[in-house]
């Protein structure tokens, strides 16, 4: 059974207050805590390493899968390999996420390596939230790795959120897209204190008509550091767009490195990057609507990261 801290972490990372409906696998402090499969979604524990294989049958529609991870003991370090096999024509929502509560003196670290094999014409919405809490000296570290293999005509939308409490994160996402496949990534990140966040994307558009749209919005506060490294490679007639938009505050630092590589004359690739502080006139406008300067700042950041 989950304790109160674990339940709170679960609510933060998966909006779950109770055990979810549909298929789920809850990993708590390095072990499978609870699990449920359905007729169409099977979850099998790996034998050689930590992690699970998830098989979603072709044609599965409107089903959801929750695979949250919670760490509430200090000093746990784990690497978990989860492989997702999503059948042709399936249409599913997958909610992952990791919450770490570290009140102890040792670092807690969860490195989740996710591989997605998305079948022809399948549609996946993937949500991954990271959250850290606890006032211990030990760091809360999350290093997710995501590999995506999108077959012809498939579609994947990823929502990646890390707003609070993770001391160090190094996120690597790679994707290979076949003809007509589309990938949308919406990343939202906020760092504070002395946190460090690295996020890199390498997307290969290998099939005609493939498309990718990678958008990151982030807020860097206090002494934190962020690096956003996004690379789209167009090998065929295709379209790609990457955007990094960051609000910088206090003594924070942000490095944005958008890269495009076109290996075909009809590869249409665009990148945009903007880093700047909150505009003074935005604060003034909200103050004329009755907010204090601090409240105005919060509203602007909340809206930006929404």
């Amino acid at each position: 059974m989950l304790d109160a801290i674990q339940k709170r972490l679960l609510a933060e990372v998966a909006d779950l207050h109770e055990v979810p409906e549909g298929a789920y696998h809850i990993r708590a402090n390095g072990e499978t805590s609870e699990k449920n499969t359905t007729a169409n979604i099977d979850i099998i524990s790996k034998q050689d390493v930590s992690g699970i294989d998830i098989h979603i049958k072709p044609g599965t529609k409107k089903e959801s899968l929750h695979i949250p991870v919670v760490l509430s003991n200090s000093g746990i370090r784990e690497t978990v390999y989860n492989d997702f096999y999503i059948g042709e024509d399936a249409d599913v929502v997958i909610v992952a996420g990791c919450g770490i509560d570290n009140c102890g003196g040792q670092d807690s670290e969860h490195d989740g390596i996710h591989r997605f094999y998305v079948g022809k014409n399948a549609k996946v919405k993937y949500v991954e939230k990271h959250y850290g809490s606890g006032d211990g000296e030990g760091k809360r570290i999350l290093n997710p790795g995501t590999e995506l293999y999108l077959e012809e005509g498939s579609f994947m939308e990823m929502e990646m959120v890390q707003i609070k409490g993770v001391d160090s994160t190094d996120r690597k996402t790679t994707a290979k897209l076949a003809a007509g496949a589309r990938l949308i990534v919406r990343e939202r990140l906020m760092t504070h204190g002395s946190q460090q966040a690295y996020s890199s994307y390498e997307v290969e558009l290998n099939g005609e008509g493939a498309g990718a749209d990678i958008v990151s919005r982030s807020v860097a506060r206090e002494d934190s550091y962020q690096k956003f490294d996004s690379r789209i490679i167009g090998n065929v007639p295709c379209s790609g767009h990457t955007e990094c938009d960051a609000i910088i505050m206090d003594q924070a630092r942000v490095l944005a490195v958008p890269q495009l590589e076109a290996n075909h004359v009809d590869a249409a690739l665009i990148h945009e990057a903007a880093i700047g502080k909150i505009a003074g006139e935005q604060l003034v406008k909200l103050m004329t609507l009755g907010l204090t300067e601090t409240e105005a700042e919060e509203q602007i950041i909340n809206g930006f990261l929404k």
Partner: protein, 243 residues
């Protein structure tokens, strides 16, 4: 009632002080619709910013309903009932029109309530309520949303800084109707508009002419407007007399 008493505002230039507003005294009575006009650079917009607290006067006092607000912050003035519409409405990435209207009204406005404010400014509410207040909106749309936020605040005193700036002719026609309606419906508050458009001057109760930082003339519309027609203080946008 708003009272400006001997308001002056100076800015420091490299070697000297430049006076933008010189010893202006002005009273805006409750329920009045007052238009402040004058040539470019006359200090009109600065006067509006001084009222809202965005700038602080070098000397003089600002009194709202008997309370001295001269030293108060923008936020304090807003909460006492001073509303201000920007000449160039501000864009926000991520904040939606509904968010802005909720902040403005200071209460948990329902989407239906918020829509009424948008309808009031001539926008088809359903199309706008969930739009982000970002660069995807045109100047005219932003302007109307800006006005809607002021309606939602239900301020005692609403100050509009050149509402006609940066909008097209078609939007301007609509804008006039919005102000006409506001004037008719206005029960409690007073309205101050900074403008040099003839059609806005034409719906004023009172006109104040500012030139070179001081009040050159003031009085009822009927007295002041005829003398302004054809000057840069009363432009006719529709006749193509634009800058």
């Amino acid at each position: 009632m708003l009272e400006l008493k001997n308001i002056s505002f100076e800015v420091s230039e490299e070697i000297s002080q430049k006076e933008i507003v010189r010893d202006i005294s002005l009273t805006v009575e409750d329920h009045k619709f007052v238009v402040i006009t004058g040539p470019n650079g006359s200090g009109k917009s600065t006067l509006a910013k001084l009222i809202a607290g965005i700038e602080k006067p070098t000397s003089g006092r600002i009194i709202l309903d008997g309370v001295d607000i001269t030293e108060m912050s923008i936020t304090q003035r807003a909460n006492l009932g001073v509303g201000f519409a920007f000449q160039q409405p501000v864009r926000f990435k991520g904040l939606e029109v509904l968010d802005l209207l909720r902040i403005a009204s200071g209460r948990p406005l329902t989407a239906a309530d918020a829509c009424e404010y948008l309808v009031e400014v001539g926008l088809c509410a359903r199309d706008y309520i969930r739009r982000e207040v970002n660069a995807s909106l045109s100047g005219g749309e932003l302007k109307r949303i800006e006005i809607a936020t002021l309606l939602a605040r239900e301020s005692k005193l609403s100050v509009f800084d050149e509402p006609e700036a940066g909008i097209d002719l078609w939007s301007f026609q609509n804008l006039i109707q919005v102000f006409e309606r506001m004037r008719r419906k206005n029960q409690n508050g007073s309205i101050v508009i900074i403008s040099h458009q003839e059609r806005i001057l034409n719906i004023a109760d009172e006109i104040v002419v500012v030139a070179d930082g001081h009040i050159a003339d003031r009085g009822k519309k009927e007295q002041i407007l005829p003398g302004l027609l054809g000057t840069s203080s009363a432009r006719n946008l529709c006749a193509g007399n634009r800058e």
